[in-house]
Symmetry: C2
Subunit: 187 residues, 2 copies
C-alpha cells in the first residue's frame, strides 16, 4: 500500500493530529487522499470558484493578475463512493452552543434539497466543541423547515448527527459513518 | 417552466447556436443550466483549479493579486443524474482527421480508469469537424490500451462514439445519449 508523501510524513507522529492546529479542511483532505490511496473512494475538494479579471503571460505560462472569490452555490466536496454520488460541506464553528446558519449560503441549502431529490448522498460535517459530527442533509433540511432560529443548537447536532472519531489514518474516517447510515440495508 | 436569463436571450435566435461562435463550453454550460431549470440533472463545470500566491483586502473583500492555473487531475464536469455519479471532459480539436491525446493529461486518464472501477458514468465530449461526439470512458481507455498512437483517429470516434445533435434548447442534449447508452436496461 502506497501513501502520498504528506500522509507518510504524518505517520511519524500520528497521535497529535487533533492538537497540531491542523484544520478540518486539512483533516478531510488527508482522509480523502488516504481513501484514494487504498482505492476506497474518489472524493475531492472542489476548487474555490474565482472570477479572473486580468491575466498576463510570462515564459509561456498564464499568470492571474487580478481575480476575486465567488460565492459557492454547491458544496465543498463531491465524488463517488460505492457507486453512489456523494457531496458534503465541512464547517467549523467556535460557537459552543450552536451552529450559526449564516455559515451555509442560501444557494447551498437549495442545492442540498436538490441533491436529496436526485438520490445523492449529501451531508454536513460540522466541527463544534472540538467534536466532529456528520449531519445528514435530510436532518439539516428538516431542522431548517421546522425552526425559525438562525442557528442549529449543539444538542440537535449531538442527537441527530453522528460523531466522527479522530483516528490514526485516515484522521477522520467519515466513510465508516456513511457505510452505517447509507449502505446498511445493502449488507 | 423558468429559464435562466441567458437561456431566454438565446431563444430569440435559436437556430444560430452552432454558428455564433459559441464555444463547446458555453454550449454545455447552457445545456446544464437548462437541465437544472427543468430539474433533470445536477451537473456543473468545476472551477478551474488555481493556486493563489498573493491576496489583498479592499472594502472588506479579498482580492487575488497573483495566482496561477494548476493542471487538473479530474475532469471538467461532474454531477448527479438519475441517482448516478456522472463525470466528463469536453474538448475541441481543429484537427480534422484525429483527436490529439495531448489534450487529455496523464492524471485525467488515470482518473477515468478509477471512475470506471467505481461504477461511475464517465465519458469525453469531443468536438471535431464541427460535430460533437460522446465517447464512452471505456472506449477511450480501450483505444489507449491497444494503440501506441498519439491521437485517436476521427474514424474511431465516428464509429465508437455517439453523435450529439445540435438542438434548440438544450443546445446539446447529451443526456439523451446518456439515457440510451447507460440506462437502457432500466427502462
Amino acid at each position: 500500500m502506497k501513501y502520498p508523501s504528506n500522509i507518510k510524513k504524518n505517520y511519524q507522529n500520528p497521535l497529535t493530529y487533533k492538537n497540531r492546529g491542523m484544520d478540518l479542511e486539512d483533516e478531510l483532505n488527508l482522509s480523502n487522499e488516504y481513501y484514494q490511496s487504498i482505492d476506497k473512494a474518489l472524493i475531492f475538494k472542489k476548487p474555490t470558484p474565482i472570477g479572473v479579471s486580468k491575466v498576463s503571460y510570462r515564459n509561456q505560462s498564464k499568470i492571474i493578475e487580478k481575480a476575486y472569490f465567488k460565492e459557492p452555490s454547491t458544496l465543498d466536496y463531491n465524488g463517488l463512493y460505492r457507486g453512489k454520488y456523494i457531496e458534503y460541506e465541512a464547517k467549523v464553528t467556535k460557537n459552543k452552543t450552536a451552529f450559526p446558519l449564516q455559515n451555509i449560503h442560501y444557494h447551498q441549502i437549495e442545492h442540498i434539497k436538490k441533491v436529496l431529490n436526485h438520490q445523492g448522498i449529501v451531508f454536513l460535517i460540522i466541527k463544534i466543541n472540538d467534536l466532529v459530527y456528520l449531519l445528514k442533509g435530510c436532518d439539516f433540511i428538516s431542522y431548517i423547515n421546522t425552526h425559525l432560529r438562525k442557528s442549529i443548537p449543539f444538542d440537535y447536532i449531538k442527537n441527530q448527527g453522528y460523531l466522527i472519531k479522530y483516528g490514526y489514518n485516515p484522521p477522520l474516517d467519515y466513510l465508516k459513518i456513511v457505510d452505517n447510515i447509507y449502505f446498511k440495508e445493502d449488507e
